[in-house]
């Protein structure tokens, strides 16, 4: 009992962790009991920030949060964010428009990706390419599954992935060089130092790879030659005992070049594709502690993403697509700790977001949307064993309908070994600029057009006035203001740890998604080519079970097993099947009625996903073996009935085996070797991003200097 009280006391202090940490480091207030308890606390257990927007001890947070530590990231030899996420239970990486992450069976569009709590922008067809993110300076990655829009607004519909960079105050310089198959070179340079009230960190990453081709006899590379550069600064200034100023600056650059050869009537035509991506993020933060109970944070954030994709054939430009996405935000969050049973967090913010693209009507005009939002959350401990969090966020959008996102979560500690948690929340994803403003006619492929919801009526009326429309489809009359896509998510879980060496997590999830935006044919050009636009149409659900078992067999040997079972469906398709409107084919290729039990749900999703990790580790040596398994998934509608069923084409189930080992030779020097995809599993058609067997070696050298 006493221990629990002690923990409760700590919880109330956690939100000040950053400040308190700084204070403690400088020993400016040696009598500060908060700082002292924090010290003990920090040694013992990790904190998470993403679930509640304020620091919490992992075991005390009512919304389950998964932490991926720096050590585990290094020990799997990961270079990009995608390398880390692909080994996590219940996450599946998708290929197409970059590498995206599917969470709880929902598309990459619906997971918010953040660095230090600030969102990244620059999605292509809804996918934020996880390869854009170097991870050599990451302290940890926090993953919250389930709708989190009550704190983070748009995109946090399936969940949130928050990358937290290392801002340690050690004086050190660490350099690492990695070399591997396909001439892949990855160089990291990490510098951190602190002097007086200043803390400074710099991270530099240079990644180059020749890419690979798993397609035989082809000059075209499945993964093209690539160069990526990341430059990241963090500076902090402890202005007074109560005020801290921080500044983060990140610049990332990427260039991909692909040679394509097309044979036509025996004549080979060579083309060169170039992709340039640039990402700038600037994030000043001021934190002020008004009293031991009241903290306020002002965050300013500006990010700009620039993309340029071009294709040249025999010196002629086939296309040159440009996109520029800018996101500006000012936000204040205030945390008030009434007592050790009740605390409040509230915030207000404004966003100005804008996109320029040559696929919109006026290339030079930036389309903008202004968002004003407010959020509030309270955490209550009515009794010692129970924690309840309730909150909401309201986003008022200039361009489309407003969004209201409530969430409530509760955690019950039955005893020292068993915890239950439950949450229900609503998440949303705002229509993106493409869905609002696109004005694209594909002259290269039949002249079809796609118009954004705000453009469609205007453009079609104009085309009609000059006699360029042959017919209007019924969906044209359904065009109206786009609404955000919504999900209501329920998560129920339990965590059981019979001993310090065994941890078992079990959770059930269900997401009901409404208003999914889909493209529909709205009219025909006079030429017969189709015109599409966007409407809120579909309703779907995803549901499943996720489990994780971690066992420390001996102090050196650990085993982790994760598993996810997933079911998905388009609710309208189920209605149609039940109404007897959906047909499939029999063995002869002729039609027959389709049965509901033949229905698969959404494509590109595996019913079963599992991972297994074995780790051996002592003071200066480690080795690990990881197995990732995925059951078959639907890839194309073979029978032509417009939905996915057992008669369709599937990608085969597969297992990937990865291995890594490392040794610390001295305090300064360590080395690591690894082999990914030992079984050399490749699937050209369905897993174009999966290289065959690859090997690598990493050497790391660290220069340390004691803090003065």
């Amino acid at each position: 009992m006493k221990r629990i009280k002690y923990h409760l006391l700590i919880i109330t202090i956690l939100a000040f962790a950053n400040l308190a940490k700084a204070q403690q480091a400088r020993l400016s207030k040696p009598t500060d009991s908060a700082a002292h308890s924090l010290k003990t606390y920090h040694i013992n257990e990790e904190t998470v920030i993403t679930a509640t927007r304020s620091e919490r001890k992992l075991s005390n947070v009512a919304i389950p949060t998964k932490i991926i530590t720096q050590k585990s990231i290094k020990q799997i030899g990961a270079m990009r964010l995608s390398d880390v996420l692909q080994e996590q239970s219940g996450l599946f990486l998708t290929a197409g428009f970059g590498t995206g992450v599917q969470m709880q069976g929902l598309n990459p569009d619906y997971t918010l990706i953040m660095i230090n709590g600030e969102p990244l922008v620059g999605r292509t067809s809804g996918v934020l390419d996880l390869n854009r993110l170097a991870i050599g300076n990451i302290k940890k990655i926090e993953i919250v599954k389930g709708p989190s829009s009550s704190l983070y607004g748009s995109e946090a519909m399936a969940g949130v992935i928050n990358i937290i960079t290392d801002q340690s105050q050690k004086n050190k310089v660490e350099a690492s060089v990695r070399y591997g198959t396909y001439n892949t070179k990855d160089i990291n340079l990490n510098t951190t130092f602190s002097k007086g009230k200043f803390t400074f960190a710099h991270f530099l990453n240079n990644y180059q790879s020749d890419g690979f081709s798993i397609r035989p006899y082809s000059v075209e590379r499945t993964v093209a030659p690539i160069w990526r550069l990341t430059n990241q600064f963090h500076a902090a200034y402890q202005a007074t005992a109560k005020t801290k100023i921080e500044l983060d600056l990140r610049y990332a650059y990427e260039h991909i070049q692909n040679q394509i050869a097309v044979t036509n009537n025996g004549i080979i035509t060579y083309s060169t594709g170039n992709e340039y991506h640039q990402d700038v993020n600037l994030n000043p933060v001021i934190t002020h502690l008004f009293s031991s109970k009241l903290k306020s944070t002002l965050r300013l954030y500006a990010t700009n993403y620039n993309a340029d994709q071009s294709l040249n054939t025999s010196g002629n430009s086939i296309y040159d697509d440009k996109l520029n996405h800018q996101f500006l935000r000012a936000e204040n969050q205030t945390d008030y700790y009434l007592n050790d049973k009740v605390c409040f967090n509230a915030g207000v913010g404004m966003v100005q977001e804008g996109v320029k693209s040559n696929r919109y009507e006026l290339n030079s005009t930036r389309r903008t949307n202004n968002i004003a939002y407010v959020f509030a959350q309270t955490e209550i401990k009515p009794v010692e064993k129970l924690t309840i969090i309730a909150g909401f966020r309201y986003d008022n959008n200039q361009l489309f309908a407003a969004a209201f996102s409530p969430k409530i979560a509760a955690m019950l500690k039955a005893n020292d070994h068993l915890k239950f948690n439950a949450s229900i929340g609503r998440g949303f994803k705002a229509p993106d600029f493409r869905q609002l403003y696109l004005n694209f006619t594909n002259t290269a492929a039949g002249g079809y057009s796609v118009f954004g919801a705000l453009e469609a009526q205007k453009q079609i009326e104009f085309l009609q006035s000059i006699g360029q429309i042959s017919s209007i489809e019924s969906d044209y009359y359904r065009l109206k203001e786009l609404h955000p896509e919504y999900a209501t998510g329920i998560n129920l879980g339990l965590q059981y740890n019979p001993s310090a060496a065994v941890q078992f997590d079990f959770s059930l999830f269900r997401n009901d998604v409404e208003n999914l935006i889909d493209t529909r044919l709205v009219a025909y050009h006079k030429s017969g080519a189709q015109i599409f636009s966007y409407l809120n149409l579909k309703n779907a659900y995803t549901q499943g079970v996720e489990t994780q078992l971690n066992v420390k067999i001996t102090p050196q040997i650990a085993v982790a097993v994760g598993y996810q079972y997933l079911l998905t469906a388009d609710k309208d398709q189920i209605k149609e099947i039940k109404a007897g409107k959906i047909y499939t084919i029999d063995a002869s290729g002729f039609a027959r009625l389709m049965r509901l039990d033949e229905y698969i749900g959404l494509p590109n999703r595996s019913k079963h996903m599992a991972n297994f990790k074995f780790t051996y580790e002592n003071e200066n040596y480690f080795t690990n073996l990881r197995i990732l398994f995925r059951s078959k998934w639907a890839v194309s509608d073979k029978d032509g009935n417009g939905l996915y069923n057992t008669n369709d084409a599937f990608a085969n189930a597969f297992a990937q085996i990865n291995f890594a080992a490392g040794k610390q030779f001295s305090k300064q020097f360590r080395a690591q070797i690894g082999c990914d995809n030992i079984g050399n599993y490749v699937d050209i058609a369905n897993l174009p991003n999966l290289a065959g067997r690859t090997f690598y070696t990493t050497l790391t050298y660290q220069f340390n200097q004691k803090n003065k």
Partner: protein, 216 residues
């Protein structure tokens, strides 16, 4: 699944056997060997590998092209009609790529037409009184062209054409006789190439119509 297929196969064998014995004729070879073939079992006529202007090369833009000629077919006689008769009422349906013509309007002098019925071939036994029999008015045809508009869906990612199951083409012949027609495959031998097949295979085996039809 396997079991179902076996059952269906058995049912087919039994029914064709029954059909043969009742008609007291020679056994019909229904195997599809990739060549043009027409055969009738009971009141259902099956057509295999009707060549509909197969691809002969690529355009300058890299689009596959044929010779541009339609293949004309007479449903009443179950035979191909020479191109020279294209302006007569000797044909009922014509095929070129994914485009299907009926003999009327801009396509021919006949009294033809068509509409697309959603349902099963076996279940539809008459023209629906509420459905309008449309005539060809190029470039808009009675059987609409385009993916998911008429009888097929085009999978652009995999470059494959698949008939939509449950689409029965209700065809009025040049002499206004009424037929129902169901297409089961667009590829040689009645087998759609694998999604992983090369473009060369996908292009060289397409435009081979496999269908069945019955007089109403």
């Amino acid at each position: 699944m396997k079991k179902n297929q076996i059952l269906i196969a058995m049912a087919m064998v039994v029914s064709s056997f029954y059909a043969c014995t009742s008609d007291n004729t020679v056994t019909v070879d229904t195997t599809n060997n990739g060549t043009f073939k027409v055969y009738t079992v009971g009141n259902v006529t099956s057509v295999q590998n009707l060549i509909a202007d197969t691809i002969v090369g690529m355009s300058m833009q890299g689009q596959p092209v044929g010779t541009g000629h339609f293949t004309f077919f007479n449903l009443r006689t179950g035979s191909i009609v020479p191109n020279a008769d294209s302006a007569t009422s000797n044909w009922d349906v014509a095929f070129r790529g994914t485009t299907i013509l009926t003999n009327a309007g801009t396509s021919g002098p006949g009294a033809g037409g068509a509409y697309v019925h959603v349902g099963l071939f076996a279940d539809v036994n008459a023209f629906n009184a509420d459905s309008t029999v449309r005539t060809d008015a190029a470039p808009v045809y009675a059987i609409k062209t385009g993916s998911n508009k008429g009888w097929y869906v085009y999978d652009g990612a995999n470059n494959l054409i698949t008939p939509i199951p449950g689409r029965v083409l209700m065809i009025q012949a040049a002499n206004s006789a009424k037929y129902k027609l169901e297409i089961n495959n667009y590829y040689k031998g009645g087998v759609t190439p694998l999604t992983s097949a090369t473009d060369a295979i996908k292009l060289s085996t397409q435009r081979y119509y496999n269908f069945r039809y019955s007089a109403l």
